[in-house]
Symmetry: C2
Subunit: 160 residues, 2 copies
DNA sequence: TATAATTGTTAGGCATAGCTAACAATTATA
DNA sequence: TATAATTGTTAGCTATGCCTAACAATTATA
């Protein structure tokens, strides 16, 4: 997809990286459970990733990411995190939905859009004081169906 | 995907609907050109969609959406539009990139997230006066790399 | 340590969705 | 109207990626 891997292979790399954080002994079975696929599917995927030099996987042994595999996994995880924060903290979706959707969208957003979204999330959430102003307005809008009347109106100092 | 169709079939339905807007005589060749696939791929897809009652396609004839096909196409187009507006008007990405990414993401965003995103776009872009305040701040942030100092700070009337 | 349980692999099948090459139908034109 | 150009279809191949059934290796336990 964006990393040169298919969405499916990105999922495997991401899963392996996340599982390794909890227990470095990453086995076929846990990958299978995490991704909701059967073990033979995992074996097949690992073969492919192994051929491409993205994982090491001795027969009947534990799975490890190579440097390149880790690089890609890290990239996918970053995408996931940016999307998750946007969906949960800005749009205010539940953690479950945000996770699910981040998992799907993380494979298709271009680097350009991802970077912009990242900056946007950072901007909206790092408010100088307390809850970000823009979000407060949006939450009011969500709850009451209409825009809360705002005092003076927001002006930045250097406005034209 | 979300509509019960694969991403690929959603693409065909969307393309057919959009092409029909310009010329109701939708032929295999124009679909093929629009989607960047070869004609036999289009024929195969139309067979499938036809079996599912989503298009009508007499041999060597023009393609038409059925009611159900149109319903799905309309849904996909709506997703596309919401995403496109978010990417272009809020994140400020170029039209090209926004189109491309909307095309990819439109298949994977859950209805829940889509509705929230839609409300968010509406909220941010329908500012009571001129350029939406939140966006102004973000654009400054993008250009200068730091937040513009804001006067009084935004307060909604009904704040706790 | 022999047996049972677990874990991993292989083989073979299926659906999706693209492709090329060859052919058939349709439409345009000489 | 016969021929050429275009358009559409079929057949057959490929790759991805999932599945089940059967088997093999490993690990745990009686």
């Amino acid at each position: 997809m964006i990393t040169g891997q298919t969405a499916s292979m990105e999922d495997y790399l991401e899963a392996i990286a996340k599982l390794a954080e909890e227990d470095p002994e990453v086995r076929v079975t846990v990958i299978s459970k995490r991704l909701g696929v059967k073990k033979p599917s995992v074996t097949a995927a690992l073969h492919k990733l192994s051929e491409e030099g993205l994982v090491e996987h001795p027969r009947y042994g534990c799975v490890q990411l190579t440097q390149e595999g880790r690089r890609i996994a890290t990239d996918v995880i970053r995408r996931h995190e940016v999307l998750f924060r946007f969906l949960s903290e800005i749009l205010g979706l539940t953690s479950d939905i945000a996770q699910e959707d981040a998992c799907k969208v993380e494979h298709s957003l271009s680097p350009n859009s991802l970077e912009r979204l990242s900056k946007f999330v950072e901007f909206v959430l790092t408010s100088p004081r307390g809850e970000p102003s823009c979000l407060k307005g949006f939450n009011h809008y969500l709850e009451h169906g209409e825009r809360g009347k705002q005092l003076p109106a927001y002006h930045s100092k250097d406005e034209s």
